[in-house]
C-alpha cells in the first residue's frame, strides 16, 4: 500500500487553475520531493490532500484512505507543516502544543519536550512575539509531536537559520529511518537532492516529470568546463555559455564527436565533463521550449 496515491487530481478556484490532472504515488517509507516554483500548485496539492479544499475532480488516497470520506482518520495519522504557520494570538507556545495534542486526544509531552530542546524553542514565549523562524519551529513541533506515519511539509525550511535547517533535516532523516514517509515540497533543489530518493516536478499546475532524483538529474546534456581556448561558435547544442580569462564553461547537448573534433583543434590545458546538477536539470525542465512530457510516475521501491 502506498502512503500517497493521487490520480488525476484537479482543482480550479472558480476559473483560476490550481492543479490539473496531477497523478503521483509515494511509497511507504519514502523521502519524496515535490519541486516547483511559487504558484506552481504545490500548496494546492497538499491542501487538497488535507481536506482544506475540495478537489474539482479526480481522487486521492492517503495511507489507503480516501481524502474526502476518511478525512479525520487521515488527519490523525498525518503531520502537516504549513509554509506559513499562524497561531492563536494570546497563547504561549506550550499552550499551542497542548491544544494541538488535545485535539488529537494524545499525550505528546515527552516527544514535544525533546523536539523543543533540539530546536531550541522557548515554550514560555507568547506566539505573537515569536520571530518567523520560531513560529516555524512551533509548527514543526506541532507536526511531529504526535509521531505521524506521514509528514506533509510545505516549504519547511523558509525562515530557519542554516544550523536549525541542519538539525531539522537530521530529525527528518531519523524519523524516515524509523519508517515515517516524508513528502517534502520545496523550491530549493539542493534540499531535495540531498534528502530525497524520489521527486516530482510541478509546473503551472501539472506534473512535468517524476522519478528518482538520480533519474531526474540524468540527461544527455553535460557540463563542459575547459581551461584554455577552443573555437566553439559553430558548435550546435551549446547553452549557458560562460567565458572567462581561464577558459569556457557551458552545457552541451549536441553530438560528442563534433565537440571532441572542435576541442582537438583548440589549445586545452584542462578539461572536465560532468553531469549537470539538479538545478540545471530543473531549469531544463522549466525551459519553455522543452515540451511538456510526463515521465511515467512509478515509485522506486516496487
Amino acid at each position: 500500500m502506498e502512503a500517497v496515491r493521487i490520480s488525476d487530481l484537479t482543482k480550479y478556484y472558480g476559473k483560476i487553475r490550481g492543479i490539473e490532472r496531477v497523478s503521483l504515488t509515494v511509497a511507504k517509507g519514502e523521502f519524496f520531493g515535490f519541486i516547483g516554483p511559487n504558484g506552481a500548485g504545490k500548496s494546492t496539492t497538499i491542501r487538497t490532500l488535507l481536506g482544506l479544499i475540495r478537489p474539482t475532480s479526480g481522487e486521492a488516497q492517503i495511507l489507503g484512505l480516501d481524502i474526502e470520506k476518511d478525512k479525520e482518520k487521515i488527519l490523525a495519522r498525518v503531520g502537516y507543516l504549513p509554509s506559513e504557520a499562524v497561531f492563536y494570538s494570546g497563547m504561549r507556545v506550550r499552550d499551542v502544543l497542548k491544544f494541538s495534542a488535545d485535539l488529537r486526544k494524545k499525550d505528546c509531552r515527552k516527544t514535544a519536550d525533546q523536539l523543543c530542546e533540539r530546536l531550541q524553542l522557548d515554550t514560555s514565549r507568547k506566539v505573537e512575539e515569536l520571530s518567523f523562524g520560531n513560529r516555524k519551529k512551533t509548527a514543526i513541533v506541532c507536526a511531529l509531536q504526535h509521531e505521524p506515519e506521514l509528514l506533509l511539509l510545505d516549504e519547511p525550511t523558509s525562515g530557519l537559520d542554516p544550523l536549525m535547517q541542519k538539525e531539522f533535516f537530521e530529525i527528518l532523516r531519523e524519523r524516515n529511518r524509523e519508517g515515517t514517509t516524508i513528502f517534502l515540497s520545496s523550491h530549493i533543489l539542493s534540499e531535495i537532492q540531498r534528502n530525497c530518493t524520489r521527486a516530482a516536478i510541478i509546473r503551472e499546475g501539472q506534473i512535468i516529470a517524476c522519478g528518482s532524483v538520480e533519474e531526474l538529474s540524468r540527461t544527455s546534456a553535460r557540463r563542459i568546463s575547459i581551461h584554455g581556448q577552443a573555437e566553439i561558435v559553430d558548435l550546435e547544442g551549446v547553452r549557458d555559455l560562460q567565458v572567462s580569462a581561464e577558459g569556457l564553461n557551458f552545457l552541451y547537448s549536441g553530438d560528442m564527436n563534433r565537440l571532441l573534433a572542435v576541442l582537438a583543434r583548440g589549445n586545452i590545458r584542462d578539461l572536465s565533463i560532468s553531469e549537470p546538477d539538479l538545478e540545471e536539470v530543473f531549469m531544463h525542465y522549466y525551459d519553455a521550449r522543452v515540451e511538456r512530457s510526463c515521465v511515467p510516475c512509478s515509485h522506486g521501491k516496487e
Binding site: S43, L52, E72, V86, S89, F99, L103
Partner: protein, 262 residues
C-alpha cells in the same frame, strides 16, 4: 470539548468587558430609580408627552413611576442593545475569525470534523450568551433589593427570558452568516443588531409597520408589550426560533463543504 474550552478561553476578555459594561450600566440605572420616583410627577408627564419618541420606546404604555415601568425602559434598552451587540459579534465571528486570523489551517488539519468544529463553536457562543445573561440577571435582582424595592418576579423573569431568546436568535442568524465569510465580520454583526433594534422602534411608531415586529427579534422583547400583556408573544418567538434554526443549519451545510483560504 477541547474546542469549546479553547473558544471560551480565547473569548474571555471580550466576554468580561461586555458583561461588566452591561451589568454596570444596569446597576447604575436601577440605582437612579429612587430619585426618579420622587420627582415622578413632572418627569412622568414629560416622558409621556414626547410624541413619536414616546411611542418608539413604549413610554406611553409604561409607567415610569413604578419600578417595572422604569426598569423595562431603561434597563431593557441597555440589556437589549448591549446583549444584541455581544451575541451578534460573538456569533458572526465564531467561524469566520479562523480564516480572518489565518488559524483555520491549524485547526482544520487536526483530526476534527468540520461538523464538530461548528457544533463546539456554536455551543461556546451559546454558553457565553447564557452565562452573560445569568450574571446580569442576578446582579439586577441584587441591585433592586439594595434600593429596597420589591422584585416584580413575573415581569422581570419574562423580560429577561425574552432578551435571552432574542440574543440567541440573533446569534443563530449571525452564526449562519459567519460560515459564509472569509474575512472581516464585525460590521455585519453590529449592523444586523442595530437594524433589528430600529425595526422595532419603527414598528412602535407607525401603525402600518406593525408587521415589522414579526421580523425583528426585538418584536417579542418589547417591554411595554410584556409588562402590559403579562406574557410573551409565542408566534413571534416561533418565527424567531425558525430563523435561528435556518441560520444554524446553513452554518453546518456551508462550513462542511467550504474551501478554506490559505
Amino acid at each position: 470539548m477541547t474546542i469549546i474550552k479553547h473558544e471560551l478561553r480565547q473569548g474571555r476578555i471580550a466576554f468580561a468587558v461586555w458583561t461588566v459594561s452591561i451589568a454596570a450600566l444596569m446597576v447604575v440605572c436601577v440605582f437612579l430609580f429612587p430619585e426618579m420616583k420622587r420627582e415622578m410627577g413632572a418627569i412622568g408627564n414629560l416622558f409621556a408627552s414626547m410624541g413619536k419618541f414616546t411611542d418608539a420606546f413604549g413610554m406611553n404604555r409604561l409607567n415610569f413611576g413604578t419600578l417595572i415601568g422604569f426598569y423595562a425602559i431603561e434597563c431593557g434598552n441597555v440589556l437589549g442593545l448591549g446583549g444584541a451587540f455581544f451575541a451578534a459579534l460573538t456569533a458572526v465571528s465564531a467561524l469566520s475569525k479562523e480564516e480572518k486570523d489565518r488559524t483555520a489551517e491549524f485547526l482544520l488539519t487536526h483530526p476534527v470534523s468540520r461538523a464538530r468544529v461548528v457544533t463546539e463553536k456554536l455551543m461556546a457562543a451559546a454558553a457565553q450568551i447564557l452565562a452573560m445573561n445569568l450574571m446580569i440577571f442576578v446582579l439586577s435582582l441584587l441591585s433592586i433589593t439594595v434600593i429596597g424595592e420589591e422584585i416584580p418576579w413575573k415581569e422581570i423573569l419574562l423580560m429577561h427570558l425574552a432578551y435571552l431568546l432574542m440574543q440567541l436568535e440573533l446569534a443563530g442568524i449571525c452564526f449562519g452568516i459567519s460560515a459564509f465569510l472569509h474575512r472581516g465580520s464585525a460590521g455585519i454583526g453590529l449592523g444586523l443588531a442595530v437594524m433589528a433594534y430600529f425595526l422595532n422602534l419603527i414598528a412602535n411608531m407607525t401603525k402600518n409597520a406593525k408587521f415589522l415586529k414579526y421580523i425583528t427579534p426585538f418584536g417579542y422583547c418589547d417591554a411595554a408589550d410584556i409588562v402590559g400583556g403579562g406574557k410573551l408573544n409565542s408566534v413571534m418567538i416561533v418565527i424567531g426560533a425558525l430563523a435561528a434554526g435556518i441560520g444554524i443549519a446553513a452554518a453546518y451545510i456551508r462550513y462542511c463543504g467550504k474551501d478554506i483560504q490559505g
